[in-house]
């Protein structure tokens, strides 16, 4: 019945009247493209640096968005606490880096890299466990309840996680030492390349490249896991039909737990990247960033793994274009409104997302 309802959202009638909704949507997209084109023409270097920043932030959003999409794909639940799991990941990483590994500027690569990878591993495992614990306590007992009930407990879990961070790390930003590139000081501070000149000069730092270099293998591993392994197969089956999966001998609870672990560990990875690139985390940042990442997941088509990454890149771009470009950009004061505006428009005009609503198997 559910699949029927979804297909129903695109009624094809023989004598269909002209539907204004796609027209409005298309003209909005058109305006956006024109605006981008004019900006590109006027200030090409600024445009390029905005684009590069967009890719970096998009990577962080992508990792978090994947967590939303994985969980939504399997449980049809918006895991509001996911952003806060990401925030806790950032906290864990900063604590490990500054207090356990004691990383600082000028250390040799053979000291820095094992420490970063170790932090990554611990953050991924830690966040995976946190996320699975949230599922056990706040969602699993309510699986038969009306749909809105787990949504409410998700909000509750989000607040609780925030307050755990507040209690342990305090109300202020928890920082790492920042180097000249804007990223953590123990990373290489140089530029991969620079371009433009004067006040339009831009650069692509090694730190930005490292973000992408950390993201790509994590994403590849995830895709391999979901599409090629037994556990991935169980996830896909559970997402399609929980009861049928159970009858086929799949341990549904374990599969769901595994999904939460997976989603949480992605958030942990995102936490590390955020920590070393933006160098500070505050207890209430996760929720906001989580909402943006959720928007990205919806934009790409919730439940659709490549869609989440695609949507995250788009949102990252839109955000950095808005913050950086000079010709008629609303500016960073309006970033939140723009992102949520996109969320609302997408849900109203194309709830299945740009790439279509699909379960994790991508088909």
């Amino acid at each position: 019945m559910v699949t029927e309802a979804r297909t129903e959202q695109l009624p094809i009638r023989r004598f269909a009247a002209i539907n204004p909704i796609p027209l409005i949507g298309l003209s909005l997209v058109g305006l956006l493209i024109v605006w981008l084109a004019i900006n590109l023409e006027k200030t090409p270097d600024q445009f390029l640096s905005a684009f590069l920043i967009g890719i970096t932030t998009g990577s962080v959003y992508g990792l978090v968005a994947l967590g939303y999409t994985l969980v939504y794909g399997i449980l049809e639940l918006i895991n509001f606490a996911h952003g806060d799991v990401f925030m806790l990941g950032g906290m864990i990483c900063i604590t490990l880096i500054s207090e356990v590994f004691n990383l600082h500027a000028g250390q040799a690569a053979y000291v820095v890299w094992p420490a970063i990878l170790g932090t990554l591993a611990i953050a991924m495992v830690g966040c995976g466990l946190i996320n699975a614990t949230v599922e056990r306590i706040a969602y699993r007992p309510l699986r038969g309840a009306p749909r809105l009930v787990p949504l409410i407990t998700a909000i509750a879990a989000s607040f609780i996680l925030q307050n755990i961070a507040l209690a342990t790390k305090g109300p202020n930003f928890v920082p790492l030492n920042t180097g000249s590139s804007g990223a953590a000081d123990f990373l290489p501070q140089g530029n991969v390349f620079t371009f433009g000149h004067g006040d339009q000069a831009g650069r692509y730092t090694w730190a930005s490249l490292i973000v992408v270099l950390l993201t790509v293998p994590v994403l590849t591993a995830l895709l391999w896991l979901v599409q090629r392994t037994r556990q991935g197969k169980a996830m896909r089956a559970t997402a399609q039909d929980r009861e049928a999966a159970a009858m086929m001998g799949i341990n549904v609870n374990r599969t769901i737990s595994f999904t939460f672990v997976l989603a949480g560990s992605l958030a942990g990875a995102a936490g590390l990247i955020y920590a070393v690139y933006f160098t500070s985390v505050r207890f209430d940042q996760g929720f906001q960033l989580g909402l943006i990442a959720f928007t990205a997941a919806v934009l790409g088509g919730i439940g659709n793994l490549p869609g989440a990454v695609f949507g995250a890149m788009l949102i990252g771009m839109i955000q950095s274009f808005n913050n950086t470009l000079s010709w008629h950009a609303p500016g960073s004061d309006w970033t939140q409104s723009i992102v949520f505006g996109i969320l609302i428009l997408i849900l109203v005009f194309r709830p299945e997302g740009l790439l279509g609503e699909r379960t994790p198997e991508g088909g």
Partner: protein, 258 residues
């Protein structure tokens, strides 16, 4: 023959799957028409298009001389098509009486301001509505269960309550979706009698989806058979019973009693 409801080349596709394939269909006024067919033949999909739950991919539904294709369900209900559901969908936390009152929604007027002021006109309307609802419950054999929660009624009574609720929409055409599913033979017999009574006493036209051939053969004036989304036969119960295509469609599932 005066047709109350006509479906013209009605079609429904889900993705690439054709669930209902260009079906023409007519319900004459004050007749009891049955729609039968093996499981998955597209009966309920067809029903859902008539009532506006699904929008047809193509084709038209003409009800009482008006094209109602693609209209929202409540608009179709308010034009005079009442329905029940295959798996009972009562408002479980409401009493029987409230269930029936919800059915009368489209025929009551109270807006926000009048509701808050509770004007004498509104009081009268509400009182009359309750009286009518009680009358319907009594007619459906649910006397004295007005204030029972719907969920607490026995199965057979829930079926009756669904009919009472559908009658409250003051329909010209009543659609019953497998009303005797899950009933024992005695309950089925009672229900069949009830359906006949609906026609004679409430002057209703009835469209029935049914699996139980005794019910179909007992009450129907006309029978339409669907298989794989296509209409394979149409006629009186006798004609349909002897139609070779119908027998073929049912072979292997359930033999048609002769």
């Amino acid at each position: 023959m005066d047709a109350l409801l006509t479906a013209v080349a009605l079609r429904k596709e889900f993705g690439g799957l054709v669930a209902v394939n260009d079906v023409d269909f007519t319900v004459p006024r004050s007749a009891i028409v049955s729609l039968i067919g093996p499981n998955g033949a597209g009966k309920t999909t067809f029903f859902n298009m008539l009532t506006g739950v699904y929008k047809p991919t193509a084709g038209a539904v003409i009800f009482d001389g008006e094209n109602v294709t693609g209209k929202p369900p409540h608009a179709i209900t308010n034009r005079g098509i009442g329905r029940t559901f295959q798996n009972i969908r009562l408002f479980k936390e409401m009493t029987s009486l409230e269930n029936v009152l919800v059915g009368m929604h489209g025929h009551l007027k109270g807006g926000i301001v009048r509701t808050i002021l509770r004007t004498p006109g509104l009081r009268r309307e509400e009182r009359e509505a309750r009286e009518f609802a009680r009358h319907l419950l009594q007619f459906s054999g649910l006397r004295g269960r007005d204030d029972r929660l719907a969920a607490s009624l026995p199965y057979g009574d829930q079926r009756r309550l669904e009919v009472a609720r559908a009658l409250a929409t003051k329909p010209k055409l009543l659609l019953l979706d497998e009303p005797t599913a899950g009933m024992n033979p005695q309950e089925t017999a009672e229900f069949t009698a009830f359906v006949s009574k609906l026609r004679t006493e409430q002057k209703l036209t009835i469209l029935l989806i049914e699996h139980d051939m005794r019910v179909v053969m007992g009450v129907s004036d006309r029978v339409t058979v669907l298989d794989y989304g296509e209409r394979i036969a149409e006629g009186t119960p006798k004609e349909v019973q002897h139609d070779p295509r119908v027998i073929e469609a049912y072979l292997g599932t359930a033999a048609v009693p002769t």
